[in-house]
Amino acid sequence: MLILNCPYCGRDVDETDLHAGGEAHLKRFGPGSSDDEFEHYLFMRENPKGVHFERWRHVYGCGKWFLAARNTATLQVYGTYSAQSTEPPQHILDAIKEAQA
């Protein structure tokens, strides 16, 4: 059972208090987008063995969505950050780089 730090509550939270929301940083494609763009947005996921940016909601807590950078193979968590991010922040990228060094 994973432990993730909710960046809003500042607390380490058990997986049972969270709701997983799949891959993070998807760009929405609405009307006017091509079939390929729409297909990619709606269905195509990275599902990597390794570093994964993902959405979580502290559903039995503050109710806020947040994002996590996690290694799906080793279960290492590089950090959690605001859902209001269009890309992983630098400190998360640094943590990943450091762990992989």
Binding site: P31, F38, L42, R57, K64, W65, N71, T74, L75, Q76
Partner: protein, 1001 residues
């Protein structure tokens, strides 16, 4: 056979009575069921899975594969208990398993004669051809003979509980290394929990009695336990299995609370849900069998197990025991047997040289030791009668026969690496000791990327006392240090025991055994997997260890790699001409030994399984005969049968009365979401397919919500409460889901929009007042003007209604004149009573969800979950009018533009009426000629809602039919329950009051 003056765990002054297969037997307090059965000379304890061969005890602990019994009766019956783990209690009832008609005489043993036809992969091979043969012949036979114990037929009567605990260090295993680890970690200042699966602490050291810190091991164990018991930061739990190690330091431990007591109150088991910073697996090691012919005959068992029985319980399997080994440790058994007055005619040591301290001690007792020798075959059927001896090097030419009634074997030791491996800890092959042990460089990783599991003691490959106790102490210290606990831990305990010569791996005995011999060497006693089965699997291409396991069933069921693993791997490796580490191991998965499902469930059963949500007037419903149905987590009245009325009659009465007089519906369960803020209108325009931003304050609008895929996910009436505030009604089951859906989009996509959403579903009691006399009823209560002019259809108002704080919506889901009145939840019961009182002269009656369904179906209104199933777009339901053409974007718009959604042949909503007035079957399909690409019968539609309409006096239905709206008047056939078809005409789905005159008065 009970020995006098032996048995350190039993109390000979406390006899205990029990029954085995109905036979009354006697043991002592302190016995396990296993030792008590041996004391009663019950050697035959079960039958093997496939060939039904006679089976006796092989082990003395959790790894016992054969002696599985069913305990208890009725609601306390439980199968598959290992007798080695059952503490004997007075009145215990045990029955052996997997035999018919009796243990002594089992018809299934015929399988053994047919073993030629039951090779490895038998099950898979029979899957193939002919198909009918599998269904009618193989499957019934296999089902009858399969399975170990029988599943209980009644619900478990015991109670179970869960404890949550957070500790710094969890130590699994209460042997000397686990005790040392606990001591070190606790002295360093960490909070430590130590669990031990058996009742007794100290592990194997209590049997073999090495010396630690100059004391007998037992004294050191007692002193250490006493010291730990006084430390406030230590939790000690015996009879507690470390069942599983999971992500980020989570572990499950299951404590047996009452099975060992004759009488008890309270829960039977306690599941500890542990969060630990560091976990130490001091889980010991398991001795492995040797592969020689007929090594499965009852009376052949592990050397260490036999030693346990003699030393701990004062019981033996036989008078004359032949010992066969490839290591020094097994000599301890020979010594213990002779010291107990039993005879050891010979020790067969497969090694060419044997000269360690233990060997010398054995020789000094006059025990005959033969090196380079092996067992060619065990003699006997239901019990050992002798062994044939041969050279280990060679094909098994018999050099001597020795009569005996017990064979003790030892193929060396395998560390218990299960808990280390559960969460991804890797293993390395130790060539010297011929074992897989934990690789300290590749432990399971925690959230911080550092290892959180440490193996210690024999579980870490340190088989000797001195190393083991020191390794445990070091692991405890390191675990505490890793968490920042830096108090002094004191001196490392010094262990001392006999110096042993190296073991020599023996995977086949004798080395060049013939096929006939190999076909009688059991690797897995429980599942009847023999050396030749694994060799066949390899030959047939199942080279991956995971494939070979599944093909042969090696290590399946309760074994899970405890006893059979390494011998199976070695056999596979030899067959593939590979080294053992190249073959690798199968995956170890929790739990270590089986847990009852009830232990995992804990208290979450019956009424605590899932909380029931109740509306403010639930008690009134209950008191007034409501027939409830579950809707999500709610219980809603389906109907209110009166007197001798059937539920169906009640539904008919409720519909008729509502259409003719006035009815009341408890609609409190409908979701109510307040959406507020400067951008709320813009946000709702994205959420709904229709426009909500232009809804005037005071007005209501029916809205549809879609997923990005375009599929309809919810519907409901939206009311604009104020300039910046909307109230969105959702379906009963949709409130939480749609709330979460809105939050997701607000937080993760349009986070710059100023909107907030609050779920106020449970803040209100909401009642629908429905029927031609609805207005008169509300006017009787008085306080608000609710005329057609003052409150037109699809508007709302608020005020004091008979003293209640009411918000009144003029909306209708029945086609009748209808008001939905919301009052604060606390006022709900009083308001409901007021409605009933005021309505009495008007003939008011409450109605349930079935009447609601019928009335909405008569009007052709859709229901989420009936007309929709996650593949239906609003256009399929002819709801084009509720889809904005002006809006450039809303959730689902792009999805609905895809080719398949534009297909003119999509199944679309129509009404259906049978030609004879009967009711169509729910979910019935409309078959048509021909088959699809999968060879299945083609279909052209299906029924989504179907009812008997009391208003029309006949069956009405809605359904989705290919291109349906263009086929009005056409008659198509639908399937009927029980076979055949039924004709129905495609009609307009609005069956009642097409022009909507009744609701608009």
């Amino acid at each position: 056979m009970r020995l006098t003056n032996h048995g350190r765990l039993i109390a000979k002054n406390r006899p205990v009575h029990f029954t085995f297969n109905g036979k009354r037997m006697r043991g002592y307090r302190g016995d396990t069921l296993a030792s008590a059965l041996l004391a009663n000379d019950q050697i035959l304890l079960g039958r093997s899975f496939k060939y039904h061969r006679p089976r006796g005890l092989v082990a003395s602990g959790a790894e016992e594969p054969n002696a599985l019994v069913e305990l208890g009766r009725g609601d306390r019956q439980e199968p598959n208990h290992r007798v080695t783990q059952v503490e004997l209690t007075d009145g215990l009832v045990a029955r052996s398993q997997n035999h018919w008609p009796s243990l002594e005489f089992d018809v299934g043993v015929i399988n053994s004669k047919l073993s030629r036809f039951l090779p490895a992969g038998f099950y898979y091979k029979t899957f193939i051809q002919p198909r009918a043969f599998w269904k009618h012949v193989y499957e019934p036979i296999i089902r009858k003979s399969a399975g170990l114990g029988a599943a209980p037929e009644t619900a478990d009567d015991h109670s179970y509980e869960h404890f949550n605990i957070t500790v710094d260090v969890l130590v699994i295993g209460g042997g000397i290394s686990g005790l040392a680890a606990t001591l070190a970690a606790a002295r360093a200042g960490a909070r430590v929990m130590l669990v031990e699966q058996t009742a007794a602490w100290g592990g194997r050291a209590t049997v073999d009695q090495p010396r630690i810190d100059g004391q007998d091991a037992q004294d050191w164990i007692d002193d250490t336990l006493a010291a730990l018991a006084t430390m406030p930061n230590v939790t000690l739990r015996n009879r507690t299995q470390g069942a599983g190690v999971y992500d980020h330091g989570y572990a499950l431990c299951n404590e047996q609370l009452t099975d060992h007591l004759t009488q008890s109150d309270g829960p039977r088991q306690r599941l500890w849900r542990v969060r630990a910073g560091q976990i130490i697996t001091a889980t010991g090691a398991i001795e492995r069998p040797l592969s020689f012919a007929y090594n499965d005959v009852p009376g052949v068992l592990m050397a260490s197990a036999l030693r346990d029985y003699v030393v701990n319980y004062g019981v033996a399997v036989g008078e004359r025991t032949v010992l066969v080994t490839n290591n020094d440790d097994a000599y301890r058994t020979a010594i213990a047997l002779v010291d107990a007055g039993l005879s050891v005619p010979v020790v067969l040591d497969a090694r060419t040289v044997a000269g360690g301290e233990l060997v010398e001690r054995a020789c000094a007792r006059g025990i005959r030791v033969e090196t380079g020798k092996a067992v060619a075959a065990v003699q006997g059927g239901k019990r050992v009668t002798g062994v044939r001896i041969c050279d280990q090097v060679g094909d098994g030419t018999v050099t001597e026969e020795i009569a005996c009634d017990c064979v003790a074997m030892s193929g060396g030791w395998s560390p218990v690496v299960h808990l280390w491996s559960h969460c991804g800890g890797k293993l390395i092959w130790d060539d010297t000791q011929a074992m897989f042990r934990p690789d300290p460089n590749r432990p399971p990783l925690g959230a911080d990327g550092a290892g959180f599991v440490r193996a210690a003691g024999t579980a870490n490959g340190h088989l000797y006392t001195a190393e083991s106790v020191a390794d445990g102490f070091a692991a405890g210290k390191q675990a505490a240090r890793a968490l920042g606990f830096d108090k002094k831990v004191g001196a490392v305990p010094q262990g001392d025991c006999a110096v042993e010569d190296p073991m020599e791996p023996v995977w086949l005995m004798p080395a060049n055994a013939s096929y006939d011999k190999r076909a009688k060497m059991w690797l897995d006693y429980q599942n009847d997997v023999k050396v030749t089965d694994v060799q066949l699997a390899a030959q047939e291409g199942f080279e991956s260890v995971e494939h070979a396991k599944r093909y042969t069933t090696l290590g399946m069921a309760t074994d899970q790699g405890k006893l059979s693993n390494i011998n199976g791997l070695a056999t596979l490796a030899m067959s593939l001409d590979k080294a053992i580490p190249e073959v690798g191991t199968t995956t170890f998965r929790p739990p270590y030994t089986p847990l009852p499902l009830a232990a995992i469930t804990g208290v979450a059963r019956d009424h605590l399984f899932q909380p029931v949500r109740k509306t403010p007037i639930y008690d009134w419903h209950d008191d007034n005969g409501a027939d409830f149905e579950p809707v999500g987590q709610w219980r809603r009245p389906y109907a209110y049968p009166r007197g001798s009325e059937t539920v169906h009659d009640a539904v008919i009465r409720e519909v008729t009365n509502t259409r003719e007089n006035v009815g009341l519906l408890d609609a409190s369960t409908l979701g109510k979401l307040v959406v507020k803020g400067p951008d709320a209108g813009k946000f709702l325009d994205m959420m709904y397919t229709n426009m909500m931003s232009n809804l005037a304050v005071g007005k209501c609008r029916y809205g549809l919500m879609c997923s990005e895929n375009g599929f309809l996910i919810d519907d409901g009436v939206v009311a604009r409460i104020a300039d910046d505030t909307w109230l969105c009604h959702t379906t009963t089951g949709g409130a939480d889901r749609i709330h979460a859906h809105m939050e997701d989009w607000l937080q993760c996509e349009w986070w710059d929009w100023q909107v907030y959403v609050a779920n106020v579903t449970e803040q209100y009691a909401q009642f629908a007042v429905v029927g031609p006399k609805a207005r008169r009823l509300l006017q009787t209560i008085g306080g608000m003007t609710l005329t057609k002019e003052a409150l037109p259809f699809m508007q709302w108002t608020e005020g004091k209604l008979g003293g209640f704080d009411a918000r009144v919506f003029r909306i209708s889901f029945s086609g009748e004149l209808s008001y939905e009145v919301a009052v604060p939840a606390s006022q709900g019961p009083a308001f409901w009573d007021a409605l009933l009182a005021a309505g009495e002269p008007l003939g008011v009656m409450p109605y349930g969800t079935e009447a609601l369904h019928i009335m909405r179906a008569e009007k052709g209104f859709i229901m989420i979950g009936d007309e929709t199933d996650g593949t239906v777009i609003p256009q399929d339901l002819n709801l084009h009018w509720a889809i904005s053409k002006k809006k450039t974007d809303f959730l689902g718009k792009r999805g609905q533009l895809r080719d398949h959604m534009q297909d003119p042949d999509r199944w679309k909503l129509v009404g259906l009426e049978t030609l004879d007035g009967s009711v169509l079957a729910d979910g019935a399909y409309a078959p048509e000629d021909g088959t699809n690409a999968n060879g299945q019968r083609r279909v052209q539609g299906r029924v989504t809602s179907t009812y008997h309409s009391p208003t029309l006096g006949r069956g009405i239905a809605m359904g989705l039919v290919r291109n349906g709206p263009n086929r009005m008047g056409e008659v198509i056939a639908f399937t009927k329950e029980g076979g055949g078809t039924q004709d129905a005409r495609i009609v307009d789905p609005v069956f009642y009051d097409k022009d909507g005159e009744k609701q608009n008065v």
